[in-house]
């Protein structure tokens, strides 16, 4: 009871005040059959040192990317998190999950967000980036609402290679404003441009293309942009910013809005979150952009300062007519990304991309050489690819997990047509030994 301020003496005083003899007397109105007639079946309290030992034991039963060779991807990736990130974000000045609520008094926080926005805008090749949104999926859903607000059209065309989980979130968001989702088939792993031309038309608010897409394949973003713009629609590109040290910025390929999951930029896998929703757009659309936006300005003494800007778009001022219901950002994860990019620098980010793609191509070659195993799509890929297996991918993955290899993501529950497929991701963290061991273990598992 040491953390509870109400002592036996307090309780007696309170009971006396209301004229009741005992706490039990307050419960007499509850029917006997609805009451638990025995104490809760809880184990006895542990001493702190015993509790820590107990929790460590439970935590030890988790699989994590340090104890396993992780080839899992599908939206979150085992990129290396440099040590300065943890060192910096744990500082008391920074350690809050929240966006600043008395913003101008938090110049340091605003500055880190401003730098984050600047880096994201540069990476994506866009004019302006916001302070971040919850994750890649919610960023995309907000982008579809934004496209609808910009041109008033009510259909969203989604390329087949979009992460199926993102599609579900878009579906949820689309329900309220009554947006109609239309799918563009991608039978060969990338958008079928002829099919896209038939779907994208005068009613299309935006065409959404993910590149590299969920299957790992690189899309022809420039062709998609041309196609969308010819129909008067916007192009929304879903992009993984950690790849953009090597891959062309979507903004230079014609994207109007760029969104994506920023987890790869120094945010730990963390069993699924919290992650980082990247959101960037062309300047002409800035007043329709959801979320917070930090701007640089000068104060009365002409000294540089930072302020939340264009807040009149936001819910706390514009109420029901706000651009979105998001008045916050994932400030701590955005800070991790900022420190990540500052630590790696331009060359470092290029190196991460080069190593990831080189190792992914080596792994694809080794794995596809296993008898019965092949690459599902004959398309260029970056750090992730889809393997077709001769045996159940679930069983193969379970077998390899016993050898401390997380083989990848079986696609059956996400895409029925690919129930014989395994999605494999390779980051710069994987070693040649790990890849070779994976190939050997796979060969045994499917033999």
């Amino acid at each position: 009871m040491r953390y509870l301020p109400n002592t036996a003496q307090n309780q007696r005083a309170m009971l006396e005040t209301i004229g009741v003899g005992a706490v039990e007397d307050l419960l007499v109105k509850i029917p006997a059959k609805a009451r638990l007639a025995r104490p809760l079946a809880l184990p006895p309290a542990l001493a702190e040192s015993d509790l820590v030992r107990h929790l460590r034991g439970l935590a030890g039963r988790n699989a994590d990317a340090d104890a396993y060779a992780c080839f899992l991807g599908g939206g979150a990736y085992d990129h290396y998190v440099p040590s300065p990130i943890n060192h910096m974000v744990l500082r008391g000045e920074f350690l809050t999950a929240y966006t600043p609520y008395q913003p101008e008094a938090s110049q340091g926080t605003l500055r880190t967000i401003y730098e984050y926005q600047t880096m994201i805008a540069e990476l994506t090749g866009m004019d302006v980036a916001n302070a971040s949104i919850y994750d890649g999926a919610s960023s995309l859903a907000e982008a579809t609402l934004m496209a609808h607000a910009i041109n008033g059209r009510a259909e969203i065309a989604l390329a087949g290679g979009l992460n199926p989980l993102y599609r579900q979130v878009v579906e949820t968001y689309a329900d309220g404003p009554g947006l109609k989702l239309r799918d563009v088939p991608s039978p060969e792993g990338v958008v079928d441009l002829d099919a896209a031309r038939r779907v994208v038309g005068a009613r299309t608010a935006a065409l959404v293309v993910q590149s590299p897409n969920f299957y790992g394949c690189l899309e022809d973003v420039a062709a998609a942009a041309e196609l969308a713009h010819a129909a008067g629609a916007l192009l929304v590109v879903v992009s993984d910013p950690v790849n953009l040290g090597v891959l062309e910025a979507p903004g230079r390929q014609g994207a109007d809005i760029v969104v994506g999951e920023g987890q790869g930029l120094g945010v730990p896998l963390g069993f699924g979150g919290p992650y980082l929703g990247v959101f960037a757009a062309k300047n002409e659309f800035v007043r329709r952009m959801p979320g917070r936006l930090v701007g640089a300005t000068v104060d009365l003494d002409a000294a540089r300062g930072f302020a939340l800007t264009l807040q009149t778009r936001e819910q706390h001022i514009r109420r029901a007519k706000a651009t979105s219901n998001i008045c916050t950002n994932v400030a701590l994860c955005a800070l991790m990304a900022t420190i990540y990019l500052a630590t790696l620098g331009k060359q470092g980010l290029v190196r991460v991309g080069e190593l990831s793609t080189a190792k992914a191509h080596y792994a694809a070659e080794r794995l596809a050489a296993v008898p019965g195993v092949s690459l599902r799509f004959a398309q260029p890929f970056f750090k992730e690819f889809t393997l077709k297996l001769p045996r159940s991918p679930e069983r193969v993955a379970a077998k390899l997990a016993k050898q401390s290899i997380l083989a990848g993501l079986p696609l059956k529950t996400l895409d029925r047509k690919l129930s014989d497929c395994l999605l494999v991701a390779v980051t710069e963290r994987r070693t040649k030994d790990e890849i070779d061991a994976f190939a050997d273990a796979l060969a045994k598992a499917v033999a």
């Binding site: 007043r287 009149t312 778009r313 001022i317 514009r318 007519k321």
Partner: protein
């Protein structure tokens, strides 16, 4: 007391309307721009768009608020003030002149008669304006 020209008609949402032949020019009143403070952005419809009386046709954004713009009469947008995209402060400087917003070709002449006169509008803002 805010400037309320007598040759114009008004809405309770603080737009003014000016008859020009068979068309109606629309802007916001001096009272409205004073209340808003420095205007930083004006969002207008496209030429050819249809607007409805007392329906929103655009948005005016100041440093402290964003407000909807309401059309005094129904009709088709014949002209918009493109200059406001670059110089939104014109709305503060000349609300009844170069700060105009749209020109509408009305479809229902009766709507004109339902707008407030200058005297009625002056009384309306004297009572607080909302």
């Amino acid at each position: 007391m805010a400037n309320v020209p007598t040759d114009l008609k008004y809405t309770r949402e603080h737009e003014w309307a000016k008859q020009e032949g068979n068309r109606v020019r629309v802007g916001i009143t001096a009272f409205a721009q004073e209340q808003l403070g420095d205007v930083v952005f004006v969002e207008l419809p496209k030429v050819g768009a249809r607007v409805g009386a007392h329906q929103t046709f655009g948005v005016v954004e100041s440093v402290k608020a964003v407000s909807d713009l309401f059309a005094p009469v129904s009709g088709e947008v014949a002209e918009i003030n493109a200059e406001l995209a670059q110089k939104p402060e014109t709305v503060n400087q000349e609300p009844y002149g170069r700060g105009w917003m749209i020109v509408v070709t009305p479809v229902d002449a009766k709507e004109w008669d339902q707008l407030l006169t200058a005297t009625q509008y002056e009384q309306f803002i004297a009572e607080g304006g909302h």
